[in-house]
Symmetry: C2
Subunit: 594 residues, 2 copies
Amino acid sequence: MKATFFSAALATLAAAAACVSAAPSPANPFDLRHSPRDLFPRMNNGASNNNGQCRNSNGSSLQGYQPPLYTEPLRPQIHFSPTVNFMNDPNGLVYSNGTWHLFYQYNPTQNVAGNQHWGHAVSKDLYHWENLPIAIAPEEEGHGIFSGNAVIDFENTTGFFDESTPKDQRIVAFYTLNTPTSQTQHLAYSSDGVNFTKYPPAVISRNQTQFRDPKAFWDETSSRWIVALALSQEFGIVFYSSPNMKDWTEVSRFQSYGILGYQYECPDLFQVPVEGGPDDGKMMWVLAISINPGAPVGGSFVQYWVGDWDGSKFTPRDNAVRTMDFSKDFYAFSSWNNSPGKKAYAVAWASNWQYTNVVPTTPFRSIQSLPRELTLKYYRPAPQFGDLILNNKPANLSALGGQTLYRSNGTGNLGNQTVALTGEGAFNIVATFKLPAGTNATYNTIGSFEISSGDGQQSVKTGIQMGEPAVAFIDRRAAGPSFAADNPFFTDKTSGIIRYEANYTSEQHILGPLPPSAHLSTTGRDQYIKLQAVVDRSVIEVFVNDGELAGTSVFFFDNDQTPSQLKVSIGDDKLELVSLRVRALDSIWADCKE
Amino acid sequence: MKATFFSAALATLAAAAACVSAAPSPANPFDLRHSPRDLFPRMNNGASNNNGQCRNSNGSSLQGYQPPLYTEPLRPQIHFSPTVNFMNDPNGLVYSNGTWHLFYQYNPTQNVAGNQHWGHAVSKDLYHWENLPIAIAPEEEGHGIFSGNAVIDFENTTGFFDESTPKDQRIVAFYTLNTPTSQTQHLAYSSDGVNFTKYPPAVISRNQTQFRDPKAFWDETSSRWIVALALSQEFGIVFYSSPNMKDWTEVSRFQSYGILGYQYECPDLFQVPVEGGPDDGKMMWVLAISINPGAPVGGSFVQYWVGDWDGSKFTPRDNAVRTMDFSKDFYAFSSWNNSPGKKAYAVAWASNWQYTNVVPTTPFRSIQSLPRELTLKYYRPAPQFGDLILNNKPANLSALGGQTLYRSNGTGNLGNQTVALTGEGAFNIVATFKLPAGTNATYNTIGSFEISSGDGQQSVKTGIQMGEPAVAFIDRRAAGPSFAADNPFFTDKTSGIIRYEANYTSEQHILGPLPPSAHLSTTGRDQYIKLQAVVDRSVIEVFVNDGELAGTSVFFFDNDQTPSQLKVSIGDDKLELVSLRVRALDSIWADCKE
């Protein structure tokens, strides 16, 4: 990450709002031309206190915050956020000994980006997180522990472990050390999954200040370690190989693909199972690259390629570039290493550098997206053309308890519906809209959800405009006007096209898996589209047809309002609402509120 | 173009609003699965009346429109728009015998897309347009004359001309004939630049319904005609060659590059002069492709590649995709063939298919962008990396008369300024902002223009957030809330990064040409950025540093309001406004208002 450069200017502003002690006044804020040397007081890897999942990762007291932590009106209840202060990229995602590890870029001293550490949390189910102490902290003022990932060194190729450490607890973290004059790549290791020891020398350096964000993995193809790194302003992803993670040799480069933006960041090369088409059942490779700024929608976004990895080189299937999320708050995508089974899971930072430092949340800023389960789905957008797209849907939401607020399946057209959203502010809303065969979509053939504040004055919307192609949208224009109207970068409306359609029967509208796709352009067939929105106080994540299209948007209701009412609407009388399920989700932070 | 499929649904709605006789009620509107057969009453190439530049291109009476044509509050005054009814893609752009020809996709019977003809206008200066009769009309109901281009057949390779026709008046138009069952490529020719004769047989057909938008040119490299065509839903641009424009042979394909969206449209391969860098002074090739829908910002947009053309095949310099415009209303980009000198000129349709059929203009819909002069500018975003970007700026605006409203150059910091915008609603606003060496940008280091309505209740904004990279934005959130709030696709805020900076001295702030770029990351150097906005009643076109970045947004003030006041603001006291010029531009439609 390079976030620190963007954010430092806001330190003073934010410190006042966030009830934390201010760092020294920033001398060189915001402007990327200046390094933020004097903004980075070093944090000790302080001894943790023992408050369970609410334990503050920087070890400072959490007493006295009002309201109690995790009860703030804009605080998501089922998404990970730090107790206090600023978080950005997910880092070091690894599954070890039955535990999912989430590290993250963290400023333990301010509620704006800067002073980068690796924060840490663990989970058994990808939803319920326990906050842990800072995992990796810089040694010197002005240094930052920037993004990277973590692996399991089963065979102790590094020599960091002894035989007493179970093989799947041998965690090696790979991060970028940022200093005012360089970005170099470093290791730290842990035998207990909590405490990390640094391996002092840089393992890769290039005399570069724009060289960062290692993503390492054990490559079965070549029986060696591989790491991908971003040469950020050269728009290159460079791959290295190593037998031991200490000695690295450059093996290939992926150069100048896709939307370049201002810089490449956070490469992630990983395997994903294919569903459907000629490669059904195989694992294929996906390379994701984050860019910031310069996204077509403004600021930061993630693009990806599907292709082959031969042990040394990634070759994309084509020269097209695909985007991971149609909306504006999904960045620094990262997948978990060592996921059990042939499964791929990932998470992204649900914010955007264009405004993340000034969003009106306190005493924390930013959340991680819902954990996503990934597959590559085959579809045929035209008879002459088949393609694979990265399907991403929430990992098993049944891990979250909750209460059903509405449920109706397959009993004909439900028409418009209004549902009171009672609970803690987190809801899973799933509907299926049907455009019957022989009818035709118009501009207003839109099935939509409008989620309103308790005072009825604000709302966020999502919907599907039926037809071919159908289009999904998120509209946050009416949510939190005090921020949305003033910030010149907080884009209100985003949309994406729906590339294939569910082929559901009515019984499958909600609960069934998506069948393998078929070409949809068959006049006279019913068109069914499934829309899911997970709304959580200040974020909405939209999934179409179980994840063929996803959109993530934050929003900020004014006046301490939370999502309180749902209106499901069919925009004209051609459209039918054929199933609807609404469930209130229990907070994952219940223990923190006491 | 495939616009007809999107739009037909709105026919009834729009006809009522637009005071034109309604076509038969649409049976198969909007949904792309259905062909709009019964929506397309055939138009005769009617005899023109003789009203000069205001002559209606469909030959019907223009009497009785209130207010008089081209005086409507939302009607741009220096942009081309049809007298009445719906226009989309520019077509057939060619310079012939001292005249710039602009053909365009036109529905002469309704104010929504459909019933496609080639409308026609001509100009001597790319700004002042004379409306001419329909150039090419379909022969049968249900057929459409879809997009294409035109060339000068100097050497009469087609045999369409006799010796009495001056060589540079031998115009051949190349268009797609759309029928319910096919898209095939056809020719029509004209010796007088007004009346066209169809050459009946299809010259290229592929048994395809998604095959369209020919862009032909005489290729000096291979001494033959070349045409680029879109295989829209296969995401391919296919190139053919011919000695005579009648017999074509496929020579290469450009497959699956960039953002695919739902379909490729309107390929344009053309030569552009290079400014700066190792190729300074050369002509290089640019391939532009429009996609719709599926743009990252929603709906339709244009992407391009810079590369080499060897007479048979286009090879891009890299696999990156670049976008032509950072905002949302710039589509179907097309360049002029046969431009005099080594110059490249182009225009685009300033709208977006996501909402074009429902925008609140009447009795016309859509405009063409300002004509743009194109160059390829060399810059170095990083010491290790040089690149060429397509610079686009308005063609010589001095062709437009007008009155200077404010002018100050290089006399120190002007601070905030307010200027009354008196005139006809069209203004050219140019400012230079300076961030002095040794100061640092913050989030609020923004230089901006706010253009307000006469009632002070609405405004559109554009600005530059200084720093590295600096970012330009357009914000139309506060313009025309009745449309902007209701339409789920009318995105309010768009932005783009500024890749290099002007290196002006103060004397050059406004009037001087941009010097060749140098790498900008020099701490301690003054940062100057030049912001130009051409505002014209319901459109704003923004150019940064004379065209290194461009953004085009339509907006629609409510209550018959027009742009009436300008506020130029510097967001914090670090920033300086060092020059400002504001000029009211005379209407190009003065003769039409009598």
